[in-house]
Symmetry: C2
Subunit: 300 residues, 2 copies
């Protein structure tokens, strides 16, 4: 039994006339008769009752006709969806990202993705930089946003977004936007940062600036998550340095003082497996390239 025979069978079943059906199917009548005979022989089932004048479906033929119709239309659907997947228009992409990306690149990116590829589903996993590489290599995610780059033979990364740092202070702190000039002003404050091993950017930045300003910061608390750090600052347990985009993340009572006058910026890079040919990933990368993640657009 093959699809051709089923199609022929449906042709005869709908015409109930071999000659007419053969015309519609663009084959000769004897060829059609023989294919039907063959199908009947293979199944061991009489599908049509025919005399020299009339053709009608047997109950088994009736059943097969309904089912064959269904299965052929299913098959069309499968073909079509297979093609969509091939073109990367349908499927899922699993994205790893630091918590902060939720306040910057992710919303516009998902909007654009939805616009151009409405049938691509996304699966977002918030994860620390330290987990991203492993998750990619284990195929647990397909693409990620990451702050720090570790060049890797099997991965490609590309900076998509740069943003300045902000000094995070409790509301009661004497420093404010107007009187802030340099980090030296808070050299006696306690600092709260992510642990060095999970994300070195803050440490390195802080240490670099402090060094420039001639002091060594006193780190008193550590936490992996931005929201936790903000909460600790709010409760007067210390001050911090974070990417400015966290400003839009919550309604905590802390001050964000953008450090415009220092050259350091935090990069957000997109990273994926170099050899990943998944068309959904390719489309995801295209969309992300097409977007201009300028500070202006994201931070207003």
């Amino acid at each position: 039994m093959d699809f051709r025979q089923l199609t022929y069978f449906l042709g005869v079943a709908s015409e109930l006339h071999f000659s007419k059906a053969s015309e519609k199917l663009f084959i000769a009548q004897p060829a059609l008769s023989r294919q039907i005979q063959q199908l009947e022989k293979e199944l061991g089932v009489l599908l049509f009752e025919r005399d020299k004048r009339n053709v009608k479906l047997t109950p088994a033929g009736e059943y097969l006709s309904n089912e064959a119709q269904k299965i052929l239309s299913q098959l069309d659907n499968i073909k079509h969806r297979t093609q969509l997947i091939h073109n990367g228009e349908e499927g899922e992409i699993r994205i790893g990202h630091p918590g902060s990306a939720i306040y910057s690149v992710i919303p516009p990116l998902l909007s654009a993705l939805k616009l151009f590829f409405p049938n691509i589903k996304t699966n977002l996993s918030e994860m620390l930089d330290s987990s991203v590489i492993e998750a990619l290599k284990k195929h647990e995610i397909d693409v990620a946003f990451i702050r720090e780059l570790h060049p890797d033979k099997y991965l490609t990364a590309k900076v998509v977004f740069r943003e300045p740092f902000a000094l995070i202070l409790p509301e009661s702190h004497p420093i404010n936007e107007n009187n802030f000039e340099s980090l030296a002003q808070v050299k006696n404050d306690n600092f709260i940062l992510p642990p060095r091993n999970s994300s070195s950017v803050y440490h390195d930045l802080l240490l670099r600036i402090c060094e420039r300003e001639g002091f060594l910061p006193n780190i008193v608390h550590e936490s992996n998550y931005g929201a936790t750090i903000l909460k600790l600052v709010e409760h007067n347990l210390g001050i911090s340095v974070m990417p400015i985009s966290y400003k839009f993340s919550s309604a905590m009572k802390v001050k964000f003082i953008e450090m415009k006058n220092i050259p350091e910026r935090t990069n957000l890079s997109i990273i994926w497996r170099k050899d990943d040919t998944n068309p959904v990933l390719q489309n995801f990368l295209k969309v992300s390239e097409s977007l201009d993640f300028s500070d202006a657009r994201l931070l207003k």
Copy 2:
């Protein structure tokens, strides 16, 4: 695309190795390679990523693999069920019958059918003799039980059950099993019967016997349905004559006096379209032939 190609595709998809798959599929490796290429070309979709060393499914191939598996197993199922229908082991048979048959042949027949052909469904329609012929010819039913035979070119009928008549009397009536001898004893009673046009057996029977006994019955009520007639008798509105099997039909307060001493019997025949080749019907007829609808078994 045909089933062969899908089967080959599934073979490669499960082995992820063309040479091994070709062995399992009992064809040469180049033939397999070419069939897969052909499938890919027809779909316009790369199904496998292959270098000279490794073969793996693309996302589209992954999808197709799942779907193809489903559709091929569906197809197996369809083949199987088509064969069952061909053998008359699956399907539905629509049965027309007089109300009285529910109290005689139908229960043992349905039990036997269930036993031998558990996948045949039945659809019972109670109908008057007068509707049966038309319903059969309109293909509204496939087989029927009928009391009166009207020989018909397109129908075949066969007597399956004979039963004696009973005189139906209200409980208060002076005649009883012991003192009943002949219908002449009730020649002055009022009779309740089905209308002549819908079922002549009762009329004809009654008239024949009465004629023999030398009187003309007084028919005062008519009703098509046995239960109605019984109710009217119960309420003392007259007496009736009905097949003895109604005795087991209800708990109405009426007396059934079997008229053993008269030769007349009512026949119940099975009737179907002579040219109906529906295998379910054939099996139904076989089962019904295999049963012995003797009075003894049914009326105890």
